[in-house]
Amino acid sequence: MRVNFTVNGRPQEADDVWEGESLLYVLRERMGLPGSKNACEQGECGSCTVRLDGVPVCSCLVAAGQVEGREVTTVEGLADYAKHRESAHPGGGCATGACGTSLQDAQQWRAKGQDSQTGEGAELSPIQQAFIDAGAVQCGFCTPGLLVAADELLERNDTPSDADIREALSGNLCRCTGYEKILDAVRLAAARQGEAV
């Protein structure tokens, strides 16, 4: 079957989609967007977290056919999503087609932060920069899901308590860091967000 939906603010079309296929499979294998990670395939680990109409969900548990006509934001579109949330479109999100990240840009997306470890040039969302600055990335496999979840937390809660952060990230497993630096990163991003206002 064919599925038409919006990915990172741009309309996309996926063809020959199997009826039992997950959104995660469509993103990774048909759209060429491997940022959302495939690990448990049962909603346990959160590494496939994306925004579906703004709401964080496990893309492995969304049937491809269910996203027809809906909007999906992946980690590849996070920088642009964060930018437009603040400036161009107060109150969240971008109008379809007007902004967003093209499929080609998303496919070629590379982290290029301000830090010497990640080079210079391309933009990161504040949460991505905070993860780098706080050393919250080790193997990196859980990072995309955590970024999407943490970004959504900071969107609705400017000053999250530690309990709020733990709750918001409770569906994302990390097997390297012990979470401390991830919590640091979210606190850092929240603090920077507070300073910017």
Partner: protein, 296 residues
């Protein structure tokens, strides 16, 4: 496999009548796991996401009509006063990502004994609104669970909503797991005080082939509270009464050994949870009914 995408409830009922083997999918948190792991290859998937009314709820005089697909997140955030037990249970469901998708209709459709909503639904008392092209009916929750992952739905029926009695007293919910998020219940216990009828109702999860009520424990407690005049005096419940209630609740369980826990452990834990949740709710009842504060 065919993917059916009805745009309205009427279309969904027609599709289910035409294809009774079609598997309804809403949040996908059960169905997609089975498909991803190749445990299930339904001939038809019936997507319910496009039917907006399934995500709506109405608060009536005595009941809340909760649409089958209202996500657990919405129950937690919006129905804590009316449905405190279910709101607490919803908070124990998996993770934010899962709670954003899953709803009570899915829990009932899957009818797993470990479903988090069941003990709260049993304790609060509710009716399941099932509908087909033949018409609509209300199934009392006590008659809904018919076996392990089996329920009273006919093949052509879909769950439209659940009519849950609004809380008239404190409710509590307790769940045993290895951590606070992302756990399937080892066992769970729900309790609701109903001061208007001077009764107590309970629900046990994950400790029998189906979700069950601890009926002998309820009957014992109802009689003891009545005889002792506890509802009027609001005295502390005599420890021996609480102990007997816990033992009877434990005795109602009919658990199995599995990877999550042994039958003995479950029986024991159900008793402990019964005693604790009774204590919590009774304390709320004694002190101005702080019914919605929970531990989850």
């Amino acid at each position: 496999m065919d993917f059916l995408r009805p745009a309205s409830w009427e279309e969904a009922l027609a599709a289910k009548a035409e294809h009774p083997t079609a598997v309804p999918i809403a949040g996908g948190t059960d169905v997609m796991v089975e498909i991803n792991f190749d445990h299930r290859r339904p001939e038809y998937l019936l997507d319910l996401n496009r039917i907006g009314e399934l995500r709506e709820w109405e608060v009536g005089a005595d009941t809340v009509r909760l649409g089958a697909s209202v996500p657990y997140t919405d129950i937690m955030e919006n129905l804590r006063a009316e449905l405190p037990g279910l709101a607490l249970a919803s908070h124990t469901v998996a993770s934010p990502q899962i709670r954003n998708r899953g709803g009570v209709g899915g829990n009932l459709g899957t009818a797993s004994p470990a479903g988090d909503a069941h003990p709260a639904l049993l304790a609060a008392d509710c009716e399941v609104e099932a509908e087909s092209v033949r018409g609509s009916r209300l199934i009392p929750i006590d008659e809904f669970y018919t076996g392990v992952k089996r329920n009273a739905l006919a093949p052509d029926e879909l769950i439209r909503a659940v009519h849950i009695k609004k809380a008239d007293g404190p409710q509590q919910y307790s769940k045993v797991g290895t951590r606070n998020a992302m756990v399937i219940a080892v066992c769970a216990f729900g309790i609701a005080l109903h001061p208007e009828t001077r009764t107590v109702r309970t629900g046990i999860g994950s400790a029998a082939p189906t979700p069950i009520r601890a009926k002998a424990a309820e009957e014992f407690l109802n009689a003891a509270l009545e005889e002792g005049g506890f509802w009027d005096s609001k005295k502390i419940i005599t420890p021996s009464v609480a102990k007997q209630f816990a033992e009877l609740a434990s005795g109602a369980a009919n658990p199995i050994d599995d990877v999550r826990g042994t039958a003995n452990y479950r029986r024991h834990a159900v008793g402990i949870m019964a005693r604790r949740t009774l204590g919590w709710t009774w304390e709320s009842y004694r002190g101005a009914g702080r019914s919605t504060e929970g531990v989850a």
